[in-house]
Amino acid sequence: MDSGKVLHQEKRNYFEIGLDLDGFMRYGAWQIKEIIDLTLQPLKTQHERFFFTLDKGVNKAEIEVNVYYYISGKKGDLIHQAKKVIVFPELE
């Protein structure tokens, strides 16, 4: 943690992928008739599980869960964050 290094990173995306059900690109509003939907659905909870290991020498790490919202595809805004500092116990 004190090194400030990013030791691990994973992400999940929720968006319209711009493809129709046959896999053709459909970005223009006039082109879209149905589209593959990978967004967060209303009144539903999306559960994501992350499990990862770190190098053996790491004894302390700060874990951040960040939720970014991209309105334009370029500029991401942090809308939620959860943080926890973990100290890994020394074991023989």
């Binding site: 691990h8 929720y14 968006f15 319209e16 223009g28 509003a29 006039w30 082109q31 879209i32 008739k33 589209i35 939907d37 967004t39 967060l40 659905q41 209303p42 009144l43 539903k44 909870t45 999306q46 559960h47 994501e48 599980r49 992350f50 499990f51 990862f52 290991t53 770190l54 190098d55 053996k56 790491v58 004894n59 790490a61 874990i63 869960v65 939720v67 919202y69 991209y70 309105i71 805004d77 809308i79 939620h80 964050q81 959860a82 926890k84 973990i86 100290v87 890994f88 116990p89 074991l91």
Partner: protein, 294 residues
């Protein structure tokens, strides 16, 4: 004494006469751009409805044309002429501007094309020409009249009957105003917003899928037991009013999504004891539609 009485009567009667005169809308299509801008401008409402006007001015409705130049001109420059191989006419222009500029309904064919070309200039031109086009387009938008008359007319005409172009319709049942006003329940219903915030169905059968909020709301949110209207979250809560914040407003975006995270650290693998982390993240969409969208 007579003079004083005369003055008194004049002052008393002038505003009534003036307001009736001001809120008349032409029954024939308008061909001149400046007349068109003035006729449907929200500034006509600003003197009496100052607070609402200020809220609306902050909304994306007030910049419904300038904020969508790229997307709309993609349709005008690529969709219509290249993919559909059609001429850009008012009929095609309406497929975007029936929502982005509902008053286009009252523009002549020539003026509708002039407005479409103005958008193309705002996209393609450079320097002063571009700035001039954008400045003019900024005066064209989803104005008060667009929602409080034109879109009321298309919300449920079979149920609500004919809409008078000279009446301002409102969601307030007990409203009194100096201009002709009538209560219209559609303005309180999600179906009113869904006309534009969803799939647009053109009279020729074409559908334009600008965003899909309405399908997500009607078929998913309501189907799962959601019971709030668009207006409840985007207007009534926190006195949001006619600012109607949506996907461009981080405050309402944060309200719509909830994060819960369980973070656990431990050592993994007997004898090896590698540092390991498990994160369980729960993202709940509390909005009445999918996120993101738009």
């Amino acid at each position: 004494m007579k003079i004083w009485l005369f003055c008194f009567v004049l002052l008393w009667t002038f505003p009534i006469w003036a307001s009736e005169e001001e809120l008349r809308f032409p029954s024939k299509p308008i061909d001149d751009l400046q007349t068109f801008i003035k006729t449907y401008s929200s500034e006509r409402c600003a003197d009496c409805h100052e607070d609402v006007y200020k809220q609306w001015k902050e909304s994306y409705h007030s910049r419904s044309m300038v904020s969508s130049i790229k997307g709309i001109t993609n349709f005008f420059l690529v969709g219509v002429p290249k993919e559909w191989e059609k001429e850009l006419t008012k009929k095609e222009i309406l497929k975007c501007l029936d929502c982005h500029l509902p008053q286009i309904k009252y523009a002549t064919e020539r003026l509708a094309i002039e407005i479409a070309e103005l958008m193309i200039t705002a996209r393609k031109a450079k320097g002063a020409e571009k700035e001039k086009a954008i400045a003019t387009l900024s005066k064209l938008n989803l104005s008060c009249y667009g929602c409080h008359n034109i879109k009321v007319a298309s919300s449920a005409p079979g149920i609500t009957g004919e809409i008078d172009p000279n009446v301002i319709y409102t969601a307030n049942e007990d409203v009194e105003a100096e201009h002709e006003t009538d209560y219209h329940p559609a303005l309180k219903r999600s179906v009113f917003c869904m006309q534009c915030h969803g799939v647009y169905h053109a009279p020729d059968g074409e559908s334009i899928y600008c965003n899909t909020l309405s399908r997500s709301y009607a078929d998913n949110y309501l189907g799962q037991g959601g019971r709030k209207s668009c207006q409840e979250c985007h207007m009534y809560q926190k006195n949001r009013g006619h600012r109607m914040p949506g996907g461009h407003d981080l405050e309402i975006v944060k309200e719509g999504i909830e994060l819960q995270a369980e973070i656990q650290g431990f050592r993994y693998g007997v004898g090896k004891w590698v540092p390991a982390v498990n994160v369980e993240a729960f993202l709940t969409n509390k909005a009445g539609h999918r996120v993101p969208d738009g």
